[in-house]
Symmetry: C2
Subunit: 368 residues, 2 copies
DNA sequence: CTGAAAGCGCTTACAG
DNA sequence: CTGAAAGCGCTTACAG
């Protein structure tokens, strides 16, 4: 035990091999060694025999170029910055994971930066993070901060032209990856109609913001496609009740949700207008609906079928498990890394490629 | 729209100020400017008047030292590497977030690295990540990979003596931060006893691994402290049934849990031995127990009270919400960053400081 | 086809 | 108290 500790303290780490070490071993100059080992493309100027000798020497010494030195000479850093309000939030955490995995495939590493600290000691680090990224010479930035968090997106874009947004307010003309909410609701309504539901309700946070309207559009479209009448009384709008979403109380560590609003939704949709299915704003709404429906003796799915949105980690653990829409974070991450790599290589996306819609996937569980 | 894009392409980014720019403006040499702006401690060799002039110039030019240049000169990188099997997993995602927040307070940025990709195309990146971190010259590493994932911890420690483990198998003698599982079960049992429960059961994955034994120890201790008899039939051991845990099916996107084992646990604890409370291995076990107990007409908490472990994101969304133990990830992150900073500054922890236990916190909800 | 040398932006031992 | 200069490990224009 103490021996191991002792070892660690006294044994110096082996100094990593430098280019000059490799060059000496291969009996060539640094120039040629660097050309062979660190240059991407084919270099016709070095004979294959020499090149092979250099590669052997590199392998023998376990040579890897020092990124600091390359960066200082003006090469790219192979570092991508990832801004996210809260990396812990499971609605973003898998995006974080997949972005790292995709970036690794491109030989890049990801610098993570939470822009919103613990609200107990609230401070929005958005602008600070932008500066940190500038200093680090990141090759590009992913901004997946929710739209409702402050932060100077224009300054971000000015400092880092290579920026891809995800479900963020972004900036007009900047590349952004979005989930296709209209399609999400279309899939939900189609699924419910196919299961024989006739009075399909929609319970949403609002209907004014563009991303909220998209849901409504998808709802109307698909009802029409399924030959079902649109009954506006089957749309519950939470907007008059304020921001209806799950909020964490950092004192108690508990998540709170305005269940009173959920009761109103049940009154309107099920009580007054005989809904036999509800497409909920998200999985939190759906989980709250599940709980309140049970409390009122309404069975899911036999009386009312329920579809969530986001395929949140909790969807498998509600009772019954929740049919919901998966946001395809893996596809989104792949798209984001692809776009950023393109931009880093100077291929700016064409105007019609700025907004990329990611298609959600319906995950059928037992609530429908 | 297209104008903005055009701007971005034609306008060159302003070149960041260098030390020599500041030095010229302040009419001093690089040496002095560097000493004043980039040296941590007090430097008695520069007159206060000169120093102030240099600081003014630095501010005027918005000077920030180029980290690549400093790194090349042998300074630290102010980069910390964070290894985690899956950053998306909510059991780790908040740790990731809090580590970044704490590291930021020390002026460090965090390079994230998932060591386990999507099992669809399974590849354990543990060893690759260690090399990547070496190349980057990270100042230190956090390893929060679960113990059951392969990966050469000894090689990690050899390459990065400044490593702090979290709930990982680690290496004997290497600093590690652990959650106090014995205390967790003690808190749960105490809480249940105070609420009048007499037949408190324990349902755990196993009893042989040290971290599993800790739970059993806490259970026995607290029963004794509460004057309750220890009845070994009230301990359900999942070990004979294999690895009883939540597994994600990457084909369907669903989480699966061996509920058959949960039914056995209910048979043994509630059916045969009249348990009026169960301390579950974790929140997944507890959520599955909730579901199966309801299916069998056993009410929670009136018939059986239930306590989870981990205060997972889902604990507020089960029905009823789950009383559980919070793992204090914020405290753990603070401790980990503190330890690593100490090690970076050459103050290796004393032998009795290698293992730091983080105290969990009981979060009371409606399942007890 | 190959090598010597300048320079990226810092830090620091050394000389004044 | 201050400055000139070497050097960290690369890349690249230039000279052979």
């Amino acid at each position: 035990m103490s021996l191991q500790r002792l070892d660690r303290e006294t044994t110096a780490l082996p100094r990593p091999a430098r280019l000059i070490d490799v060059a000496r071993l291969a009996k060539v100059s640094c120039s040629v060694a660097g050309l062979v080992l660190n240059k991407g493309g084919g270099n016709s100027r070095v004979s294959e025999a020499t090149a092979e000798r250099i590669r052997q020497a590199g392998k023998a010494l376990n040579y890897h170029p020092n990124p600091a030195a390359r960066l200082l000479r003006g090469k790219r850093s192979y570092t991508l910055g990832l801004m996210v309000a809260s990396a812990g939030d499971p609605l973003r955490s898998f995006l974080v994971e997949y972005i790292d995995v995709e970036a690794a495939k491109s030989g890049c590493q990801v610098l993570i930066a939470n822009t919103v600290g613990n609200p107990k000691v609230y401070s929005n680090r958005f602008d600070t993070v932008v500066e940190d990224f500038t200093r680090r010479r990141v090759d590009g930035v992913f901004c997946a901060v929710h739209h409702y968090w402050e932060g100077d997106r224009a300054a971000l874009l000015a400092a880092h032209p290579n920026t891809v947004f995800y479900e963020d307010r972004g900036i007009v003309g900047a590349p952004v990856v979005l989930v296709d909410r209209a399609e999400a609701v279309r899939l939900a309504v189609r699924h419910l109609a196919q299961r024989g539901r006739q009075r399909i309700g929609l319970a949403v946070m609002g209907v004014t913001r563009p991303e909220h309207r998209a849901r409504l559009d998808g709802y109307r479209d698909e009802l029409a496609a399924q030959g079902l009448a649109v009954d506006t009384r089957l749309v519950f709008n939470g907007e008059p009740f304020g921001l209806v979403c799950a909020m964490k109380d950092h004192q108690t560590g508990k998540w709170d949700f305005p269940e009173i609003v959920i009761d109103r939704a049940i009154d309107q949709l099920v009580g007054d207008n005989s809904a036999d299915a509800i497409v909920a704003h998200d999985d939190f709404w759906a989980a709250a609906l599940l709980r309140r429906l049970r409390a009122r003796g309404i069975r899911v799915p036999s009386d009312v079928a329920l579809v969530g949105y986001s395929n949140h980690y909790l969807a498998d653990w509600t009772d019954p498990p929740l049919t919901t829409l998966d946001l395809s974070h893996e596809a989104a991450a792949r798209q984001m890394v692809l776009m950023l790599e393109q931009m880093i290589h100077g291929r700016a996306p064409a105007p019609d490629e700025w907004r990329v819609m990611i298609q959600p996937k319906l995950i059928v569980r037992e609530s429908t």
